[in-house]
C-alpha cells in the first residue's frame, strides 16, 4: 500500500489500472476527461478518444466480449448519446468486467444541462451504479466494479459528480491485482445477437423478452451484493431524525455535522440497487428521514416504494418536495436541511443574493472563431439569416456582445435543426455553425440527412484542428490519436464534398473574404458546407503555429472617435474604451488583426 496525492480522475484511472483494464475509450467532456488521459499513461492499456460516447461505449463492449476488462468514460451528456448501446448491453451482459463512468455535473457548472444519469443507468437500464462519496472511494469502487461486473456478468457503472472528479486528496492505493487473460471471442449468439429471434429453449419466447427476464432476475443477486457492500454503512447518532446520505451527499452531511456540533444518525448509501435490508433496519427507527443525494430523488423514491411495500409509515424528506429539486448540494444546504428537519420545519426558501457582475467566458484574444463570428454576424444582418449553434468554444458567440447563434442544444444538433427551420417554411438563409470535433461526433449523420433530404442550408465547420473546449484532445480531423501522431487527418471538407455538398473554404482571420463566402454560399441552393479553417490560437500559438500573419495592432487616436463599436460588437478581451478612445492592451493582444476589419473609420491599424 502506498499513499499519494491524486486528483479524483487520476484515482479512478488508478483503480481501473489495478483491476487490469485493457481497453479504455471515451469522448472528452468536463468533468470526466482526465480519466482517459491518465489511463493512457499506464503500461499495457489501450486508450483512445473515440468520435463520440456511443462509439466509445461500443469499443469497450467489443473488448469485454473478447475477454478483456474495459472502461467507457463520458460525462452525462455523453451517456445520453450512448443510451442506445446501454439499452442493449444491459440485456446481453458482459464477458470480462466492464465499467461505465458517467460523470454528472450537478448545478451544470460546466455543461449545457443538469441531469442525473443514475435515472438512465439504473431506473431505466437496471444497471448497478456506484456513487462515490470521496476520491478514495472512487478509486476503490472502480476496482470493485470490475470484479463484480465479471462475477455477475452485468455492466457496472460509476457515477462520480464534478466535486469527485476534480477534487484532489491523499489516496492509499495498491498494486495491479488482476491476472493477464487470453484475448478470445467465443460467440454466444443467444446473448450477443440482440434480435427478435424465437428462442426454442425458452418455449418459443422471443429473445428480447428472455433477455429482459435475465436482467430482472439479476436484480436479486445485485441486491444481495449491495447488502454486504463496504460502500454502505450505518452510523449511530443523536436525535429523532435519520439521515440517508448518498455519494457526495455523505461528504456534505459529515461536514455539516461538524458545524452542527452533534453526532447524527446516518445511513450512508453509495450503491444502486439499494441494500434493502439495511435501509429497512435504519428507517424503522425513525418517524422522519432526510435523503441527501445528487440530483434527482432516485434513492428517495426507492425508499418510499420500499416503505410502502413493507407497510412502514414515515416522512421521507428529500429532493421531492422538501429540499431544492434543482442544483448542487453543499455543506451549508445540508446544514440547513438538518436544522429544519430536526425542528420539524419546512426547508426555507432561498433568498436571492445581490448580483455581483459576472465573469463570462469569451473567445480568447487571437481566437480564430472571433473572425468567423464577426463575419457571420455582418452577413446575417444583411440577409436576415438565422444561425443554429453547437457545442464548443464558438458557443460564446451566443453571449454578449455578439448574440449570434439562436440555438444551442446538444452535440451535432445545429445541422438538423437548421434544416428543420427551413422545412417549417423559414424563408431566409439558415446557417448551422459547428466545430470540427463536434462535426465528427454527431454532425456527419445530420449532414447526410440534410443532403439526402434535399435541404437548403449552409453548414459552417469551424475547423481549428483540436477539441479546444475540453483541453485540446485530438479528433479525426487532426491527424493524431490520443497516443500517436499518424498524420492522416480526415478533412471535413473532403468528406462533405464526397457526400454531395457544395464546399467552400476560407480562413476566418480574413474576415472580409470569410463574409463574402458566407453570403455567397447562402445564395446557392442545396447543402453548402463552409470550412472555416484556422488553427486554435490557444493550443497552437504556444507551439509558434498560427494561421495569421502577426502584426502590431494599434489605435490611431486621431481617427478614433470613441464610437465604441469595436468593443460593443466585437468583444475582444484586449480592447477597451478609455477616456473616449479605443485602447488595445498590448500585453494580452496576440496580433491577429481581426479587429482592423471592425472599425469602418480605419482607426485600428
Amino acid at each position: 500500500m502506498e499513499k499519494q496525492f491524486m486528483l479524483g480522475n487520476e484515482a479512478i484511472a488508478r483503480g481501473a489500472f489495478e483491476a487490469g483494464v485493457k481497453v479504455v475509450a471515451g469522448y472528452p467532456g468536463t468533468p470526466a476527461t482526465e480519466i482517459v488521459d491518465h489511463c493512457a499513461a499506464y503500461p499495457g492499456v489501450y486508450a483512445e478518444w473515440s468520435t463520440n460516447e456511443k462509439h466509445a461505449f461500443e469499443v469497450a463492449g467489443g473488448a469485454s466480449l473478447t475477454n478483456q476488462r474495459s472502461l467507457a468514460v463520458m460525462k452525462h451528456n455523453g451517456t445520453n448519446a450512448a443510451a442506445d448501446f446501454l439499452m442493449h448491453i444491459n440485456f446481453t451482459g458482459v464477458k470480462a468486467g466492464m465499467v461505465l463512468i458517467s460523470a454528472d455535473d450537478p448545478g451544470g457548472l460546466s455543461s449545457q444541462c443538469e441531469e442525473d444519469t443514475r435515472v438512465l443507468i439504473h431506473n431505466y437500464a437496471h444497471v448497478p451504479v456506484f456513487d462515490p462519496a470521496n476520491i478514495q472511494e472512487a478509486y476503490e469502487m472502480t476496482k470493485a466494479a470490475f470484479e463484480l461486473s465479471e462475477q455477475t456478468e452485468v455492466l457496472f457503472a460509476l457515477r462520480p459528480v464534478m466535486r469527485i472528479n476534480h477534487a484532489g486528496g491523499m489516496i492509499t492505493y495498491g498494486d495491479k491485482t488482476s491476472v493477464e487473460r487470453k484475448a478470445e471471442f467465443i460467440p454466444d449468439r443467444s446473448r450477443f445477437v440482440m434480435s427478435a429471434v424465437v428462442e426454442k429453449e425458452y418455449g418459443g419466447e422471443l429473445r428480447p423478452k428472455m433477455r429482459h427476464r435475465w436482467l430482472n432476475n439479476k436484480q436479486n443477486e445485485l441486491k444481495a451484493i449491495m447488502e454486504t457492500s463496504p460502500f454502505n454503512w450505518a452510523e449511530e447518532g443523536e436525535g429523532e431524525v435519520g439521515f440517508i446520505a448518498c455519494g457526495i451527499g455523505y461528504a456534505f452531511l459529515k461536514e455539516a455535522e461538524q458545524i452542527y456540533g452533534k453526532k447524527l444518525p446516518v445511513l450512508k448509501i453509495s450503491t444502486l440497487p439499494l441494500p434493502e435490508q439495511k435501509v429497512l433496519q435504519f428507517v424503522k427507527q425513525y418517524k422522519r428521514i432526510v435523503v441527501l443525494e445528487e440530483i434527482e430523488p432516485v434513492v428517495e423514491r426507492l425508499i418510499k416504494q420500499l416503505c410502502f411495500e413493507n407497510k412502514i409509515m414515515l416522512d421521507v424528506l428529500g429532493r421531492e418536495g422538501y429540499l431544492p429539486a434543482e442544483g448542487e448540494l453543499s455543506a451549508n444546504l445540508v446544514l440547513t436541511a438538518v436544522e429544519s428537519a430536526v425542528a420539524g420545519q419546512a426547508f426555507p426558501n432561498a433568498v436571492p443574493g445581490n448580483y455581483i457582475p459576472a465573469r463570462t467566458r469569451t473567445q480568447c484574444s487571437g481566437c480564430s472563431h472571433r473572425g468567423l463570428l464577426a463575419a457571420l454576424q455582418a452577413v446575417i444582418r444583411k440577409n436576415g439569416g438565422i444561425v443554429t449553434g453547437d457545442i464548443g468554444c464558438h458557443d460564446a458567440g451566443t453571449f454578449e456582445p455578439m448574440k449570434l447563434q439562436a440555438t444551442i442544444y446538444c452535440m451535432g444538433s445545429s445541422i438538423p435543426m437548421a434544416y428543420g427551420i427551413k422545412a417549417a417554411g423559414f424563408d431566409k438563409p439558415a446557417y448551422a455553425l459547428i466545430g470540427d470535433s463536434t462535426f465528427f461526433h454527431n454532425g456527419l449523420t445530420g449532414l447526410a440527412s440534410a443532403i439526402a433530404n434535399g435541404a437548403n442550408i449552409t453548414v459552417i465547420v469551424a475547423y481549428n484542428s483540436t477539441t479546444a473546449m475540453t483541453g485540446f484532445q485530438p479528433h479525426p480531423g487532426t491527424g493524431r490519436s490520443l497516443t500517436i501522431e499518424h498524420g492522416n487527418p480526415i478533412d471535413p471538407g473532403v468528406v462533405a464534398e464526397a457526400m454531395g455538398a457544395k464546399v467552400y473554404r476560407c480562413n476566418p482571420y480574413q474576415v472580409e473574404e470569410t463574409a463574402k463566402v458566407l453570403a455567397e454560399a447562402a445564395e446557392q441552393e442545396g447543402v453548402k458546407v463552409v470550412i472555416a479553417e484556422a488553427l486554435c490560437y490557444l493550443k497552437f500559438g504556444r507551439e509558434g503555429r498560427v494561421s495569421y500573419i502577426s502584426r502590431d495592432v494599434s489605435i490611431n487616436t486621431e481617427v478614433c472617435n470613441g464610437c465604441s463599436l469595436c468593443v460593443r460588437t466585437f468583444g475582444c478581451p484586449s480592447m477597451t474604451i478609455s477616456e473616449g478612445k479605443a485602447v488595445i492592451d498590448k500585453s494580452s493582444c496576440n496580433g491577429c488583426g481581426v479587429c482592423i476589419w471592425v472599425c469602418k473609420r480605419g482607426a485600428i491599424q
Binding site: P357, C364, C393
Partner: protein, 198 residues
C-alpha cells in the same frame, strides 16, 4: 489543527500554482490535504476559485463551506467580493486591489464596481484583513505575472501553519531557475507589505 483557505481570482493570475504550492507544503508537513478548483473555462477569462483544506483530522468535503474559511486570498477585488461569504468571522483576508474588468463591464452591460464600493462592501462584513496592491508591487519588480507570488508571500506573513521558507522553496521547485531571483524578491515583497502594517 486546520486551515481552510480559498483563493479567488481570474484565469491566468496563477491562482492554481499558488494553491498547489501550499497544498504540497502541507502534505510535506504530514497534514491531510484536500483541494479542488471551481473554474468556468479559466483560460478564457473566467473566474477561478481554489479551495484548499488542510488538517490533522479527516476532511470530508473538498469545498470549504460558507463561513468556514480561515483565510481568503483575493487576487482580484471583484472575485474576492464574490466569495467573501466563505470567510469565517474570525478569518482574515488579503485582497489585491488591482481590478480586472469583466467583459460585460467593458461592454457596458454591467458596471464594474469602483474600488471604494468594493472596499466598503468587504469591510462592511466585519472581518479583519488587508488590502494591498500586489499587481503594482509585481509591476515594480518588472512583471505583473509575479502578482501571485507577492500574494503568496503576503499569506505567509499572516499564517503560521506553513513555514515561509518552506513555501518559497516549494514554489521555486515548480518553476524554471531563470525566474527564481525575481520570485524570491516578489515573495519577500509580499511578506514586507504585510509586516509593515502589522
Amino acid at each position: 489543527m486546520k486551515l481552510d483557505l480559498v483563493i479567488a481570482g481570474v484565469g491566468g493570475q496563477g491562482n492554481i500554482l499558488a494553491s498547489q504550492t501550499l497544498a504540497k507544503c502541507a502534505m510535506d508537513d504530514g497534514y491531510n490535504v484536500v483541494n479542488t478548483e471551481t473554474k468556468g473555462a479559466a483560460q478564457r477569462g473566467g473566474s477561478v476559485l481554489s479551495h484548499l483544506r488542510v488538517g490533522s483530522q479527516e476532511i470530508y468535503s473538498p469545498l470549504v463551506p460558507k463561513g468556514q474559511a480561515d483565510v481568503l486570498l483575493g487576487f482580484e477585488p471583484l472575485e474576492a467580493m464574490r466569495y467573501m461569504s466563505l470567510l469565517s468571522k474570525q478569518g482574515k483576508y488579503i485582497i489585491n486591489t488591482a481590478p480586472v474588468p469583466t467583459i460585460l463591464a467593458k461592454l457596458k452591460v454591467d458596471q464594474y464596481p469602483s474600488q471604494d464600493e468594493m472596499v466598503t462592501a468587504i469591510r462592511h462584513q466585519g472581518v479583519e484583513g488587508y488590502f494591498i496592491d500586489a499587481t503594482q508591487a509585481a509591476r515594480e519588480l518588472g512583471d505583473v505575472l509575479l502578482t501571485n507570488v507577492v500574494m503568496l508571500g503576503a499569506f505567509t506573513a499572516i499564517n503560521d501553519l506553513l513555514k515561509p521558507e518552506m513555501v518559497l522553496n516549494k514554489l521555486l521547485s515548480q518553476i524554471k531557475e531563470k525566474y527564481h531571483a525575481a520570485d524570491v524578491k516578489a515573495f519577500n515583497t509580499g511578506r514586507e507589505i504585510i509586516s509593515s502594517v502589522l
